[in-house]
């Protein structure tokens, strides 16, 4: 019974889910590479970036549709608690850096001189990442706790 269950578990549905997970990570990696190249090398990869983001979105939606309700619930919980806790950390960082960030050229202190030409882009990217990375870390940490408990 268990063996047949295991075979069933790797059904076409499971294989599609795995494929979509892998593809999402591949597209995300390519997106990160193209974003970095765009940012640092000033290569205009606008349409490639848009295509990669769309591909990621399609794969992520496909993957989410294949989740069962228990896992969807676990993702909700992880995003709610972990993501919110991470965003609180982001908020604290933003508030503590506010005096520096609002001053003229305040970001210069954080950007190496060699990259000064890209200061605007880097400031934007830093702000975005500062908000998203703690939330993502919180989500992953909460997810690990949930998975280990189940």
């Amino acid at each position: 019974m268990s063996q047949s269950s295991q075979v069933q578990r790797r059904s076409p549905r499971e294989r599609r889910k795995t494929l979509l997970t892998v593809l999402t990570f591949v597209f995300m990696t390519l997106y990160a590479v193209s974003f970095t190249a765009d940012l640092l090398l000033e290569i205009n990869l606008f349409w490639l970036t848009i295509a990669l983001v769309l591909a990621c979105t399609v794969c992520a939606f496909g993957w989410a549709r294949l989740l069962d309700e228990g896992k969807i619930n676990a993702h909700y919980v992880a995003w709610y608690w972990g993501g919110s806790a991470g965003l609180m950390v982001s908020s604290l960082i933003f508030v503590s850096l506010a005096p520096v960030l609002v001053s003229p050229n305040g970001m210069d202190a954080f950007i190496p001189q060699q990259l000064a030409a890209f200061a605007t882009n880097l400031s934007f990217a830093a702000g975005f990442l500062l908000a998203m990375i703690p939330a993502a870390i919180g989500y992953v940490a909460w997810w690990i706790v949930l998975v280990s408990r189940r």
Partner: protein, 70 residues
């Protein structure tokens, strides 16, 4: 919400994976329901009732009602 899933499963000698297969959900989801980490949706609860051939209220009960019964 309380449930008798673990007991009913044990009576039939089914593993969590066996029940998960019958319900078309993951084993983790069965575990989460059994341990009360989350309450299943109505369609899933009905599916569970159908698999065990029992009325839904014989499997799931409200916390307060269960406490009062004890």
């Amino acid at each position: 919400m309380r449930n008798r899933l673990k007991v009913l499963r044990a009576e039939r000698n089914w593993s969590q994976a066996d029940l998960a297969d019958k319900l078309d959900v993951s084993r983790q989801s069965v575990n989460a329901i059994e341990t009360g980490k989350y309450d299943p949706s109505l369609p899933l609860a009905f599916k569970i009732a159908k698999i065990f051939a029992l009325p839904i209220e014989k499997i799931f009960s409200d916390d307060e009602v269960a406490q009062a019964a004890e």
